[in-house]
């Protein structure tokens, strides 16, 4: 069983908050791993927000492969952060030899390129590194994007936190948007890529649930975009659908729910926008999902959102204070890090709504 959590704040937040958020829910997950995506970075990365940062976990050989590809493409390293790791005996972690977070300047020939062109180059480069490292099983590249850091590891989240020194809060390693989860993909083979949150071109999702339409989602998505790969977890489909709808088709966020959990026909025909909704259902029938799910996500502009399956078979709570909003599978997680909030203002999203939080922490509830 999964538990998922997300923090969005006006202030920069240290990932220890995310560990505390998830730690209190440990009875609900299996302590098999820890993964998080930090967006809108502060601390040591605050001066490099426009420049892409790569998140790598690899062997020496893998690092050499990545460097060769990055150099060959003309990326110029401007900043590097190597976390101090505590390789103590007895820690439950399957650590990789190297964890590398490097920030780059774009290649010179991209100086006049559009934002979109630069973004496509980043994805293409990340995929080349991924494929190259996969061949010799020399490492993992989780993200290569401006203002984003991704960390995924196998083991006990408490020990992973200790290994990376994440339990001690400081101001050097922070972000305004953090999504986190404490479980590996224990349904199938344990692969680091299979741990939520998933990331693609600024889009993040993490899910508590199962996607019983995985096969048809995957069959459809496999040909849509070169970045739709892996499918180590059925939940990656949710990310790719969001990316396809929002970035590729340019449709607003509110249509996500209409794609993944379309309204029953009898309800659609009563609506003013029935022509549009039916057209969407027809064209994207293979992106419909089924099964129990709660999906938390973030957009490239750091807007955070959450939706549930059409029968609301998985829990989620949204709690907030003036400067922080927290999404959590269980309310105990929010109690842990926002004990002073107004509990009565907590939101329990229903099966037909999207809860959206913008960068001013305005919380909106959209009915499908």
């Amino acid at each position: 069983m999964c538990r998922i959590g997300a923090i969005k704040s006006l202030n920069y937040v240290h990932p220890s908050k995310a560990l505390h958020l998830m730690n209190s829910q440990q009875k609900g997950h299996d302590n098999s791993g820890f993964a998080m995506v930090m967006q809108d970075l502060g601390g040591i990365f605050a001066d490099h927000k426009e420049k892409p940062t790569i998140s790598l976990a690899c062997s020496d050989e893998g690092l050499a492969i990545a460097e060769e590809i990055l150099d060959g493409s003309g990326f110029r390293c401007v900043f590097e952060w190597i976390p101090e790791t505590n390789r103590l005996p007895g820690l439950d972690i399957k650590a990789m030899p190297n964890y590398v977070f490097r920030t780059f300047d774009y290649p010179k020939e991209m100086e006049n390129a559009t934002k979109r062109e630069k973004e496509e180059l980043l994805t293409e480069t990340r995929l080349r590194i991924r494929f190259a490292m996969e061949r010799g099983e020399t490492g993992f590249v989780y993200s290569f994007w401006p203002d984003v850091i991704t960390l995924k590891e196998i083991g006990n989240p408490r020990d992973i936190g200790a290994f990376f020194g994440l339990w001690e809060a400081d101001e050097s390693f922070t972000a305004r948007t953090i999504t986190a989860q404490c479980r590996q993909n224990t349904n199938y083979t344990i692969v680091r890529y299979a741990a939520h949150p998933f990331f693609l071109q600024g889009y993040v999702t993490l899910t508590n649930g199962e996607n019983t339409f995985y096969q048809k989602n995957k069959d459809f998505q496999s040909t849509l975009h070169p970045g739709y790969i892996g499918f180590e977890s059925d939940s990656q489909c949710f990310l790719y659908t969001m990316h396809y709808m929002h970035r590729q088709l340019g449709w607003p966020l509110q249509y996500y729910k209409h794609i993944i959990t379309p309204l029953p026909f009898e309800e659609v025909v009563k609506r003013e926008d029935k022509e549009e909704l039916l057209a969407i259902r027809q064209s994207l029938a293979h992106l419909e999902i089924n099964g129990p799910n709660t999906i938390i996500g973030a957009l490239p502009d750091f807007t955070m959102w959450v939706v549930c399956d059409a029968k609301k078979l998985r829990p989620i709570v949204v709690g907030r204070t003036k400067d922080t909003v927290v999404f959590s599978s269980e309310v105990c997680g929010i109690n842990e890090i926002l004990p002073e909030r107004d509990w009565e203002a907590d939101i329990y999203p229903n099966e037909r709504e999207i809860v959206v939080v913008d960068n001013n922490l305005e919380v909106q509830r959209w009915k499908q």
Partner: protein, 547 residues
């Protein structure tokens, strides 16, 4: 002594033998009157009896004339094994029995210089059906709960019509953040995922056709199931064309264009659009052949509807004037789309064939986006009339070919753009819901079925060559005949009731299959929830092999 006339037809040359018990027979004559094929007749036999009427045996011989029922040994009147004589006999005095030593195929052709014809179905298929080696084996448990088939809501509809890829939808994003459709999209109807297949009025008796129409209207108007029927090639009664019930009918056009004169003339008077137009290119039961309606069935009302004289009606094997797929797309699809002002989806029906994927690819890549459905009909489909050799020795099973087409669509990212509808033996063993569900999982958006409706009406035929006489116009059940006396055997209200009840049962059973896999809408393409106990089938269809 009789001479052995070895070259004369004998009853033991025929595929069915009539077994008759003189002792039980009361000579009521019911069997002879009921046999529509004239396969039995009364005759008088000279019987020899030895007896003694004295105290000591003094055998005497007497001869008397005994009336009996006997099988006719005339090719035109051979017994079809339909069993009507047995049904009608009050004393169980007569029945027919399959003759394993039949010489029929040889004798028939040697006598008539032509192969036998029949209606019905392929009778050679004796191995297990592919669909029966598949099971729904991916059951939701624990964290992924099964649904409640009785209480949850399920969306069981399928598209008929061309679906545009999302990036081609004519949407404009307004300042309010809403998408608005600002252009034309191809017509599309969401309908029940099981269509009652194309059986013409002509192939069917008017009572049978009426029963199907009544059942469809009832299912729509009273039960909320948007089931559609396809007219078959042969037009429709004008009264129905001008009625509101036209919206439940998919009009078929095949190479003979039968009935379209009246359809076109009725267009200005139509109060509803038809549910679709289906261009029939081929038929699974007899691929490569056109439609065939024997003269015996071309009764006066059929002549009127089709505008033809009484003669064998043979549709050409292909549409005249169509020399390529591109041409068919441009000419036929455009003209039929235009005929109903682009409000009615136009689909194509082809026989499953080794080349089906090429045809499908050509259509799915057509730049006009006007092919609204790909109906694939397999070898196990039925037919009103065909040459035995076509029925038994030509054709292609539908299951793997449907899968091939779906996978071809997947490879191009075009799944769903032309909805796939599969047929040919759906519900052959009586469980339509299971067959349909498995086909959905393999990639079909829906299925269509015809023969099963005849079974529901009381058809006596089966896959072991029983009856299969739809071509003769002598259907003993009144289903595929235009003989008034035979047609009156059929009670259209009862038939309609049977069809309605069957569909209501199918609808419940579909939910009973969707619930355990945790799906509230049709699992089109969810091959992951199927398993097969046959390794070859599993490999071919790319589903999990289990043992």
């Amino acid at each position: 002594m009789e001479t052995v006339k070895i070259n004369d037809l004998a009853c033991n040359d025929l595929p069915w033998k009539v077994i008759y018990d003189t002792k039980r027979c009361t000579l009521c004559g019911s069997c002879v009157a009921a046999c529509s094929f004239g396969a039995i007749k009364p005759k008088v036999e000279r019987r020899r009896k030895s007896f003694s009427d004295t105290e000591t045996p003094e055998p005497k011989i007497s001869f008397n004339a005994t009336p009996v029922i006997t099988q006719v040994n005339i090719l035109k009147h051979f017994c079809r094994g339909c069993g009507v004589c047995e049904r009608v006999c009050p004393n169980n005095a007569i029945r027919s029995e399959h003759n394993p030593d039949s010489r029929f195929n040889v004798v028939y052709q040697a006598t008539t210089a032509s192969g036998p014809k029949r209606g019905g179905r392929n009778n050679l298929e004796v191995q297990a059906r592919t669909l029966d080696t598949l099971r729904v084996g991916r059951i939701s448990q624990m964290t992924d709960p099964s649904l409640d088939a009785e209480r949850h809501t399920f969306d069981c509809l399928a598209p008929l019509g061309r679906v545009l890829p999302a990036q081609n939808l004519p949407f404009t994003l307004g300042p309010d953040g809403k998408l608005t459709k600002t252009g034309q999209t191809p017509p599309l109807n969401w309908i029940y995922p099981i269509i009652i297949g194309d059986m013409s009025i002509g192939a069917l008796s008017w009572r049978m056709w009426e029963a199907v129409s009544m059942a469809v209207a009832y299912l729509n108007e009273e039960c909320g199931l948007p089931v559609r029927q396809c007219s078959g090639e042969g037009g429709m009664p004008v009264r129905l064309l001008k009625s509101k019930y036209l919206k439940y009918v998919i009009l078929q056009i095949a190479s003979g264009h039968f009935g379209w004169n009246r359809i076109i003339k009725a267009m200005p008077h139509m109060v509803e659009d038809p549910a679709g137009v289906l261009i029939k290119i081929g038929q699974g039961a007899k691929p490569g052949d056109g439609g065939l309606l024997m003269a015996a069935k071309v009764a006066s009302h059929i002549q009127q509807i089709r505008g033809v004289p009484k003669s064998d009606l043979l549709s050409p094997p292909n549409h005249q004037g169509l020399y390529s797929i591109e041409e068919s797309v441009q000419k036929m699809f455009l003209s039929f789309n235009a005929a109903f002002k682009f409000r009615v989806p136009v689909a194509i029906k082809v026989a499953a064939s080794a080349t089906s994927v090429s045809v499908f690819n050509n259509l799915v890549r057509d730049p006009y986006n006007i092919v609204g459905g790909f109906f694939l009909d397999g070898i196990d489909g039925g037919t009103g009339a065909a040459h035995d050799i076509s029925l038994d020795h030509t054709g292609h099973p539908v299951v793997s070919k449907l899968r091939d087409c779906y996978q071809a669509a997947c490879a191009q990212g075009r799944q769903g753009q032309i909805p796939l509808w599969a047929a040919g033996g759906m519900g052959k063993t009586g469980n339509l819901a299971a067959d349909a569900f498995k086909m959905f999982c393999l990639g079909a958006n829906g299925v269509f079925t015809g023969k099963l409706m005849l079974q529901l009406a009381g058809c006596l035929g089966n896959e072991h060559s029983r009856c299969n006489a739809c071509n003769t116009g002598l259907c003993p059940a009144g289903i595929t005949t235009q003989e008034p006396l035979l047609v009156r055997r059929l009670n259209p209200d009862r038939v309609a009731e049977n069809i309605v009840n069957y569909f209501l049962g199918v609808d419940k059973e579909l939910r009973k299959l969707m619930a355990p896999i945790g799906n509230s809408s049709l699992p089109v393409g969810r091959s992951d929830c199927l398993i097969s106990t046959d390794k070859a089938v599993a490999d071919r269809l790319q589903v999990q092999y289990v043992c």
